[in-house]
Amino acid sequence: MTTLFTSDHEWVRIEGDVATIGVTDYAQSQLGDVVFVELPKVGRALKKAEAAAVVESVKAASDVYAPISGEVIEVNEALAAEPALVNSDADGKAWFFKLRIADKSELGGMMDEAAYKAHTA
């Protein structure tokens, strides 16, 4: 299992050909109190960099992008029911969706944890 990070402050956990996507703790601290999450439909084919989900705080709406191309195979319904999970457990329970990875070469441009820490320092 490997976790990679994007410059859009998303994390991507790779297990075999499945990628689980969420937003980073840094991202949630910048968003503030999350009050609404909209998730993609299971079965939707996402292209890399396409807007896939929405996370809204009291003040503003932000897109969550597909960090890589792939088909949505599962979404976190618990998150839609309890959006505040994004604030309390961004790296864990607040995962957004899982993708069946279409092209592993797209993982190439992402950061590892050390690089991401440097990116947000």
């Binding site: 503030g32 109190d33 009050v35 609404f36 909209e38 929405v54 809204e56 705080s57 009291v58 003040k59 503003a60 709406a61």
Partner: protein, 381 residues
């Protein structure tokens, strides 16, 4: 670019205190202002409704309108040439909500006007203050001296514990009623205190000399009931209270009638009144009082959980391609624990309970036209 823009932003007398308290500073109306503190918008909002919230509104414009004759009625009569409100009837120690109108009946700004006995005290929006001051000088200099009180800070203390927090500093405020306004001593300082605000809660706005603002705020914040509140919660609080934000819900293209602000125009300034008309755009505005307007500002409650934000187009049904209106303010109401919005609709669709649709990310979301305030106000009448 960013650096030079930021360095040109003005600061209020409370800037250092905001930074020391962890305020997240953002550009707003030419000022560097705190949008939130570490507690966050949600907690700041709820704290204001249950305890007391302290807001820096020093960026707003404070002006004194002094009659050259020495008679405050002359300043009131002069100001009535620019606003559709009855200013003559504002008794000493009272204040009233007003709007500057343009020749098309639109709104140049909204403001508070207080009668301080020998002059009028005005509070106007930050983004409009230079233009408002020029407007006053251009039209009223024959009879009034217009003083910009730019050496004063302004804070708002709002919520059910605002009165006790202020009274604790020896301020004589417990007898004040909603919209009372006048000079008062607060913590030994020469303040102007009004019992009003922008949250729907009981509360006060306190003007003090800029040099004393930080000392007053530091003293108020020693009370655990009082938390500093940023612009984020200020916006969600006023939205739940159904209060207009100038430049968004009302502007130069909206009249007081279209803006559902008829309550703010007294009978004396309407047709048949003692001083009917005589303000810019009176023909159009007074005709709308008789015949109605084609569109109207309404409260909107989305049926789902998704916030519907400013700019979202409104549709009469789920499929039609022509929008009938637009959302002018929208977001999440923490006290209501639901999304809230306001916007403009054709008058025929403006009745409470009417079901309409907003387009959000390509989907049509159902909303209901709803009465405001969304959260009952707690003004001390």
């Amino acid at each position: 670019m960013l650096a030079s823009n930021e360095s040109s932003l003005k600061r209020t007398p409370l800037h250092a205190l905001h930074v020391a308290r962890g305020g997240k500073m953002v550009p707003f109306a030419g000022y560097e202002m705190p949008v939130q503190y570490p507690a966050g918008v949600l907690k700041e909002h709820l704290h204001t409704r249950t305890n007391a919230g302290l807001f820096d509104v020093s960026h707003m414009g404070q002006l004194a309108l002094r009659p050259k004759s020495g008679r405050v009625e002359d300043a009131a009569l002069a100001l009535e040439r620019l606003v559709p409100q009855d200013i003559v009837a504002v008794a000493p120690g009272r204040q009233r909500y007003a709007q500057f109108t343009n020749n098309d009946g639109g709104l140049l700004d909204d403001l508070m006007v207080a009668n301080f006995g020998d002059h009028l005290f005005l509070v106007v929006n930050a983004a409009c203050k230079a233009q408002d001051e020029a407007h006053l000088r251009g039209h009223l200099s024959d009879s009034c001296i217009i003083d910009s009180l730019s050496d004063r800070g302004l804070i708002a203390l709002q919520g059910p514990k605002a009165e006790s927090a202020l009274a604790r500093l020896g301020a004589d405020v417990t007898a004040m009623k909603f919209m009372d306004s006048g000079p008062r001593k607060v913590a030994g300082f020469d303040a102007f205190v009004s019992r009003s605000g922008y949250t729907g809660e009981d509360g006060f706005e306190i003007s003090v000399p800029a040099a004393q603002a930080e000392s007053l705020v530091t003293t108020l914040l020693q009370n655990p009931d009082v938390l500093p509140i940023g612009l984020g919660a200020r916006d969600s609080l006023r939205l739940e209270a159904g209060l207009c934000l100038y430049g968004h819900d009302i502007d130069t293209t909206t009249t007081p009638v279209e803006g559902a602000l008829e309550w703010s125009v007294q009978k004396s300034r309407r047709n048949g009144g003692a001083r009917a008309g005589g303000f810019p755009g009176a023909d159009k505005i007074l005709a709308q009082f008789e015949k109605g307007a084609s569109r109207r500002r309404v409260g909107l409650l989305p049926e789902g959980r998704a916030p519907v934000r400013e700019g979202a187009l409104l549709f009469a049904d789920g499929t039609s391609s022509d929008p009938v209106g637009k959302v002018t303010s929208g977001g999440f109401g923490p006290s209501l624990n639901a999304p809230v919005a306001m916007g403009y609709l054709p008058t025929a669709l403006s009745a409470n309970g009417t079901k309409i649709f907003a387009e959000v990310r390509g989907q049509r979301l159902p909303l209901q036209v709803a009465a405001t305030p969304f959260v009952p106000n707690t003004y001390k009448r």
